[in-house]
Symmetry: C3
Subunit: 330 residues, 3 copies
């Protein structure tokens, strides 16, 4: 809510009690996975399921007819931008895509708060992707209209974590009692961090599979253990493939290594291919936030345990649910 | 209207008598503030007021359902482009955004007339932003469909001037009898030139506040005086702050100065901050076309006399009014 | 249809008998002019005619309400992209424009199949423009949703050829028995190749008018003759202007010539101007895929035989027809 610069007539956002039927989403910003309790997750996942039914049956609805979304991307992300656009238009809303901010007033020196306060004059909700951590919070501090964080640098990307968690429950039918292996770059991957945080709300056992130099930050491991979870760190995915209910794969980037010999020696520990999959359980899922660049071979695409494209589709349903909830139409 | 190249079947634009209820806007181009009389301004402002009511109550309408706008931007302008897009979609119309013309057929050497005649095959109206003065007139000469000038270089930006004037009447309740201070770069600012021209239709007293090298062109000062207005030129905003009903602030760019010592010595004469505002009237407004880069401090954002963000919102209402009027649905 | 990577629930594309009332378009990809028989062309042209009526009377319709199109352009093409966007929105559908793929996941190394399989999660149909020949076929191999080829390098651009053919029948009232002169760069012009292929389905006499180094590939000339057509190759448009029912003009690019003296000596053989037109029949048409850069002088724009801007408009009607047919709503 605007600390400074609030216009005289704040006609939009009202103060709703948080125990309202919308579970407190109406008019709120979506900035971090830390905002989500099990109850809120359950609510949003329920709405996402209704959205899937709606899309399968009718293609789209009129729930957000008359509403306008600003899709403000300070860095390109075809996948996330397209997913939000599709979510909005399938709810009957309209989208103003703003992808070229490097050319626009931002490059003339305008501050993020002014850009946000301009765009909210035209729109009902703003989706923001920004390269700097904390940008979404700054935007929300100045805006009267709701802000949805679509990734702020090494900070958060809450809608990605929500769609990941939703995919797990859709694929496996539950969230408690699962063994989840996070694979790849666990040090810099905000996706892994956010999903780990959400899974900590459930009785999850964690396997953290990474090269030594890309281990999950020690404080995150400690936090997970302090909440009572098993957390095992290993260096080779082969050690855990037989146990995992979820294999969440991310990319190990060559550039992270100072010693390329080290990279060469470990890189095959993080590649998922049909041979590796022969050691996996029959009922489990392979996930990936995409794009992939070799860490999952195309051969796995034929495997029924592949869930990464269904993950993409779930992203649209989750974003439909969030847009509807925040705009009071869920 | 097309002098050459007019297709055989001109099915769109009809010859309406100019005393029609739409005040002669139907099918017309909007190229310059010189097209606007007090009567036409009053008509458009009335429609803009209705648009505001419509947006506050319903978010959007179906007035332009079935209509398609080409938003053709040869140079980026997030603010103006977004405002036109929002205006069109809130009226139920559709927008085809064309922002990358530097990559497209224009860069292959295609002429503006051919681009315009192509786009009008697909659309009902074209909004054009172009870096060259006169581009909008050329477009209109060749087009069968209406053209709205969204800025043509150092030429005109009529919808900006209209929203500025509309903001003054919305904020202060009148247009006659006001003292308006134009502050900053008055030499190159097309915004100032166009607004001055519109305000000349009313009984306005002008203060032109600028560094010596950025004074309003002498012929414009002469024109204003010839129409019977008081026009006082000063170099420091402090001299007029106590008198102004409207403080219209624009940026003084460092790059305009050959002698940076001169820039350093005068730059603080054109900064609006809370201290300066203590000397202003209780009932007045501070305006700015945005983006700002330091010429209005953030502290002023909390001042109720701040009108620059409401200005942005009014821009959408004015553009809704123009689109509806030109497309015959006002 | 997806050979690999097909998701578990293929809820969209059904197997329709090809003799269905939709003439077999429902759920199909549009990749090449080779897919089109005279019967299919006749069907699509009939639908395009209905689309024209619809646009003239109502502006737009609700046929594709609820449907979402991904307009995926790996290289810019304002004209084609805008035409597809306009076609989709005039049918009540929504468009997700993706123009900046050079910045996006493609530049991060993502493969075209993954991009396609992601976008089809959000959308109902994908229009693809790609610089590499064969890209559209690859996309179609992986996609569950229909792909429309909007140009793949030196490969095909089937919707352009369809709109060209449709323009001929709309302008001249028939397709059989015409003398068609293809003028300009016949070696590299995919437009000429595709249109020639379609015209080969009718009793057409061909004149191929080009510099020696830019002649139609010999195998294409042979193919045309093998199908029983007259095919005359000449170097100067003046030789055929008096005979042609259709003058299809393309650009002769200076860069194609090693010897600029040769270019200078022949360039005027391929310029259409009012003087040349005095030698043309009274009932004939001048066409061009646009953009033009001097090969048709502006003076010809006033000539009633000019058809290149009507060609543009027909492009929208043809694309509306294809979208409606492929999505089962024609």
């Amino acid at each position: 809510m605007a600390a400074i610069g609030a216009p005289a007539h704040n006609h939009y956002r009202s103060n709703q009690p948080s125990d309202h039927a919308d579970n407190g989403f109406y008019g709120q910003d979506i900035l971090s996975v830390r905002q989500f309790s099990r109850e809120k997750l359950s609510y949003i996942f329920g709405v996402a399921g209704e959205m899937e039914t709606l899309v399968r049956r009718f293609g789209s609805a009129d729930l957000l007819s008359g509403k306008v979304l600003a899709n403000l991307f300070y860095e390109p992300s075809t996948r996330t931008a397209s997913s939000f656009m599709a979510a909005m238009v399938r709810l009957g809303g309209r989208v103003i895509p703003i992808n070229e901010v490097h050319y626009s007033s931002v490059s003339k020196g305008e501050s993020l708060p002014d850009t946000i306060r301009t765009l909210e004059c035209y729109t009902d909700i703003i989706v923001l992707r920004h390269p700097e951590m904390g940008a979404a919070q700054i935007a929300a501090d100045y805006a009267r209209k709701p802000i949805i964080n679509a990734g702020d640098g090494v900070g958060e990307h809450p809608t990605q974590a929500l769609l990941d968690l939703y995919t797990i429950t859709r694929e496996l039918g539950k969230l408690d009692g699962l063994k989840v292996a996070m694979v790849g770059d666990l040090k810099y991957g905000r996706t892994v961090h956010s999903l780990t945080r959400l899974l900590s709300l459930y009785s999850t056992d964690f396997y953290f599979v990474s090269p030594d130099i890309l281990r999950l930050p020690a404080d995150m491991v400690a936090e997970v253990r302090a909440r009572g979870h098993r957390a095992i760190e290993v260096e080779d995915v082969h050690e855990v493939i037989g146990e995992a209910d979820v294999l969440y794969v991310t990319r190990v980037q060559k550039e992270r290594f100072n010693d390329l010999a080290v990279y060469e020696s470990v890189k095959n520990h993080y590649v998922v291919d049909p041979e590796l999959m022969t050691a996996a359980k029959e009922k489990m899922v392979v996930m990936h936030p995409l794009p992939r660049v070799g860490e999952i071979s195309y051969g796995v695409d034929r495997d029924p345990r592949e869930a990464y494209f269904r993950q993409m589709e779930n992203g649209m349903f989750i974003r439909m649910a969030l847009l509807a909830a925040v705009l009071g139409k869920a």
